[in-house]
């Protein structure tokens, strides 16, 4: 493993690759800092550039963006009392009180340092765990892949507050994935006489519509106003002192470990791990009473945990092709678009790409620390960027991005229509990630279902007799049952509160 990793490191330090990693990280920090925009929007906006790069360089640039956006979310959380990304929601609890005390620089410095620690620990876990998991995944057969696809979809859908809405979104994604020429028989399906639909719904257009254009429509609807106002024009000293570091190091390490494990579970992510880490850090702290009033540990734990999820979320995405969270589901889409199909075969066919990602993830953490500390100094200026200017620019970049996929105006039309659909989904609480995952996993599920049945001579019991398939199917069922149980429990609690 070490020679491959060293080779990956050598490739990462290629001047152009390194420069693009820095670029990706800075874009990530800025995008993450702007409330309403997240890492997934950033990845979509960079897709036209991604097409021009070789696969490995493009991926490490996106990794930089992913990690940068996780840290960037804390800037708005500290300065505006509104999280830049959902993963920074817990950072507000102590970050904003620190800002009110005139210690915004300190809060952002702790955030950058903890994010670095979290990212570094999660990258090491990625390097150690992913190759082992890929070795296990290499023994998967067609039936196992079909069950894995179902598992990925159900786990992503069942993490939503309303399981039925999550599943409707995911199954609708599966249905639209069947539009176009059928891969097995070559028959055109559901094109309804439109020859453009023979190519099916292009993943890029759907991604742009559901994740980026819909966000523009939502912000327009709100009037383009930003929540909160910056309390400080200057942030002061950013680098934490050694005494401060010793005070929050344990919380950061605990947060990072929680983040890695939450990140590995498909369908979860930083928004869950940050609160979990915050609560654990509060319980472990010598001064739990300071939490909520500006405790440095209260900033360190959630920030380390949300960056801890980055490496964790990449583990199932790279080894199984099942994303760990929303951003990795968009990243998975981006990788497929540039011809890289994540899964165990990636470790066999393209180990150079895999180890470059590992090396890139390690180096990105150092870049993020430097970029984070520098950007923290300029953060009041970043937050001054008018949404009135930004949103039309993002809309144009979305249109150009959709067009540049295949120089086809029909793809632009699809992106706009999915933008409208995504807007409606956001307004009525239907998650977008299961829809996109359904579109990605649909063809894999169909192909492997067909292959499993052909090999077994149409014997459906193959899905139960294969232990791996059986485990994934049981896990899928368990995730749905558990989500139904929590839905019913929450509903009853809500009813009880109403009657009380």
């Amino acid at each position: 493993m070490l020679p491959e990793l060293l080779n990956g490191l050598a490739n990462v330090f290629h001047p152009m690759t390194f420069l693009l990693m820095v670029f990706g990280t800075i874009v990530g920090v800025v995008i993450g800092a702007l409330p309403g925009l997240s890492g997934s929007t950033g990845i979509i906006l960079l897709l036209p550039l991604v097409y021009q790069l070789d696969a490995a360089t493009a991926i490490v640039m996106l990794c930089g963006l992913f990690c940068g956006s996780m840290y960037g979310g804390s800037i708005a959380a500290v300065l505006l009392n509104t999280p830049g990304t959902p993963s920074a929601a817990a950072t507000m609890l102590d970050g904003y009180p620190l800002c009110q005390q005139g210690l915004a620089g300190k809060a952002l410095g702790v955030s950058a340092t903890s994010s670095f620690l979290g990212g570094l620990i999660s990258s090491i876990c990625l390097i150690l765990i992913a190759p082992q998991l890929a070795k296990i995944a290499l023994s998967f057969h067609a039936a196992d892949y079909f069950a894995l696809s179902l598992f990925g979809l159900t786990i992503m859908a069942s993490t939503d507050k309303n399981i039925v809405k999550g599943l409707i979104s995911g199954v609708f994604g599966l249905l639209i994935s069947t539009v176009g020429i059928d891969a097995v028989a070559g028959l055109d399906r559901f094109t309804f006489g439109n020859y453009q639909l023979m190519r099916g719904f292009q993943l890029l257009s759907v991604l742009i519509g559901v994740f980026a254009l819909s966000e523009v429509f939502v912000i327009v609807q709100k009037g383009g106003e930003r929540e909160g106002t910056s309390q400080q024009q200057k942030v002061g000293r950013v680098l934490p002192s050694w005494v401060d570091f010793k005070g929050f190091a344990l919380a950061a390490i605990v947060g990072a470990v929680i983040g890695v494990f939450i990140g590995i579970i498909p369908g979860t992510g930083g928004s869950i791990s940050c609160f979990l880490a915050y609560n654990v850090a509060k319980k472990l702290s010598k001064h739990p009473e300071k939490f909520g009033h500006g405790a440095l540990e209260g900033v360190a734990a959630p920030e380390a945990s949300n960056n801890g999820t980055t490496g964790g979320a990449l583990i199932p995405m790279l080894t199984l092709g099942v994303p760990g969270d929303v951003v990795t589901s968009v990243m998975l889409g981006a990788l497929i678009l540039i011809g890289v199909r994540p899964g165990p075969m990636l470790f066999v066919e393209n180990p150079d790409i895999v180890y470059m990602i590992f090396a890139g993830m390690l180096i990105v953490q150092f870049i993020m620390l430097a970029a984070g500390l520098v950007c923290a100094k300029f953060s009041p200026k970043i937050l001054k960027i008018h949404q009135t200017i930004l949103m039309p620019i993002i809309a144009v970049l979305c249109i150009v991005g959709a067009y540049s996929n295949a120089n086809n105006m029909f793809d632009v039309l699809i992106a706009i229509l999915f933008g409208l659909l995504g807007f409606g989904m956001k307004k009525f609480g239907y998650p977008g990630a299961p829809l996109v995952l359904g579109l990605i996993l649909g063809p894999i599920a169909e192909e492997n279902l067909n292959r499993a049945l052909v090999i077994s001579d149409n014997n459906w019991s193959v899905f139960i007799t294969s232990p791996i398939s059986c485990i994934f199917l049981l896990l899928s069922a368990a995730s749905i049952i558990y989500a139904i149980y929590t839905n019913i429990r929450d509903g009853r609690k809500e009813m009880a509160e109403k009657t009380a």
Binding site: V164, K165, L175, V184, G223, A395, V400, F423, F428, L453
Partner: protein
């Protein structure tokens, strides 16, 4: 959106999913069978059945909890805000349509400037400069560097 409007939307989304799944199911039903493995229509039919069940569950859940079909609470809907999103969507659609006739550079400049004004950006001169400079930057980046031919019309 009020809770009543959300419930009404859930009910109608459930119904829409059932209708969509029936349309797709009927279309998939007509597709040929395969002697081994699955035919081109089998998998979509399986997905349609799942979608129909989910749509039914969604609609029934609303009917049971609300004891009937909830109406949309129009007073609770901020029509001005909804109109803004609709105008932005219509403007983006018009931008797409006109780009094919007039070409990328001119339509993008007009779209950017118009959207900034619509959003409420006050400084017209700054908005005009940003619109022109950004459009030229994107145009040159894509056409010269990325070698992507952006839509051209009768003007450019």
């Amino acid at each position: 959106m009020t809770k009543n409007t959300n419930k009404a939307a859930d009910f109608w989304v459930g119904c829409a999913m059932m209708v969509v799944s029936i349309i797709f199911f009927v279309s998939a039903w007509k597709m040929p069978d395969s002697p081994r493995g699955i035919g081109p229509g089998d998998y979509p039919m399986f997905v349609c059945v799942l979608l129909f069940i989910l749509g039914l569950v969604q609609a029934l859940r609303v009917l049971v909890t609300e004891k009937g079909i909830p109406g949309i609470d129009w007073q609770g809907v901020n029509k001005r805000f909804l109109l803004r999103a609709f105008i932005m969507f219509a403007a983006t659609f018009l931008y797409y349509f006109l780009m094919r006739i007039i070409g990328f550079p001119i339509t993008t400049m007009v779209y950017l400037f118009g959207s900034m004004m619509f959003f409420g950006y006050k400084n017209k001169i700054k908005a005009a400069i940003i619109s022109v400079v950004f459009t030229l930057f994107v145009y040159l980046l894509f056409v010269r560097v990325f070698q992507v031919l952006l839509p051209s019309g009768f003007l450019i």
